[in-house]
Symmetry: C2
Subunit: 215 residues, 2 copies
């Protein structure tokens, strides 16, 4: 009955050995986190979702935390890619590309709530999960590089510190994403989209630094 060789028809399972269980577990974790938040996922349920016995995950992950950290790691990597793509080296026009970067931040929180939650809501201890801190640093690095480019437009003697700009814009983006994109009692109706709110905030901010055109 099999026309397709060793495959079993799309599940990825190849008989007794799964073939790609590590990937399947990460995908399952993402799905579960998306459905119930970082607290609502368990190794056992991820195993079930991957169609495997509850002992199997331990061949690939030390414990639930390690799996969660892997999801966060991939989340930061994906996040970095999305931010880099949006920034695009700041060409052709840095300020408008900087706005695109902000929009990409919110878009990520919106379209990848599971990754976003694993990255920012799971409160994983960073030590013991090598690479996680680095991955988070790389994501922030995109923003910092962009801020450097933006700051460079100011005359040298009154150039604002790029790191400060990056921190302000990051915090504003994260705050808007947390308060107005995600669910919770703090969420409220806005008279505008989160994207527009962020754009207005960033433009006003850059304006006060003399880095953006007019009132």
């Amino acid at each position: 009955m099999s026309w397709s060789g060793p495959s079993d028809g799309g599940s990825g399972r190849r008989g007794y050995h799964h073939g790609n269980l590590r990937e399947a577990l990460v995908e399952a974790a993402v799905e579960l986190i998306g459905a119930k938040g970082p607290a609502g996922f368990t190794i056992a349920e991820a195993a079930r979702l991957a169609g495997v016995s509850p002992a199997a995950p331990y061949r690939h992950f030390r414990d639930a935390d390690a799996l969660l950290a892997e999801v966060a790691l991939r989340g930061f990597t994906l996040f970095t890619e999305r931010l880099e793509a949006a920034w695009g080296g700041g060409k052709p026009e840095p300020v408008s590309k900087f706005e695109d970067l902000g929009r990409a931040y919110l878009a990520f929180a919106r379209t990848e709530p599971a990754y976003y939650a694993a990255m920012f809501d799971s409160h994983i201890a960073t030590d013991g999960h090598a690479g996680l801190q680095d991955a988070a640093d790389r994501a922030f690095g995109v923003l910092r590089d962009a801020a450097e480019r933006i700051a460079a437009a100011a005359p040298k003697e009154r150039r604002p510190p790029a790191l400060m700009i990056a921190l302000h814009v990051w915090a504003l983006s994260h705050g808007i994403a947390s308060l107005f994109v995600r669910e919770g009692p703090q969420r409220r109706k806005l008279p505008m989209s989160p994207e527009d709110l962020l754009e207005a905030g960033v433009l006003l901010y850059l304006q006060s630094l003399g880095l953006s055109g007019g009132a």
Copy 2:
């Protein structure tokens, strides 16, 4: 051996009946949330901490969510008080009191991490917990009123919308609190305190609106 009447010496327990179990459970929940996050607390452990059988809490709370919602509710109320005290009606000088308001926001996140987590990290559904949304609204109201007072300083024909100011400042404060005050892989070393970062951001922002003196 008892010099103090019906008390049993400080635990609040008065014999068979606890006397104030509802309060004790809320306090226990706050303590547990502070120690392990909103996900790491259970009704059973709160009962144990209050020195009571695991069935007792059900006389006071429908389930764990109801207890968590009560913590969040009290958190928002306390938060409102702190913010109001810091703002102090904007006297004597609105802009500097507005900065105090921001500092109070961060101070709350720092000194009351359990309440802060219950309010912003627990992802309680707001429906079914009457009063929670209102309490959150009142906290935001302090910020919105302050923003209105600040905006009123601008000439009428080019006065920025106070709601927008309130939303921007709230998001910036919340972002800084989430990223730089609380633990997690996203937290990084800052070249300044979160308080100074917020103050600089708010001043620059107000400046672009023509609402603050300076550079």
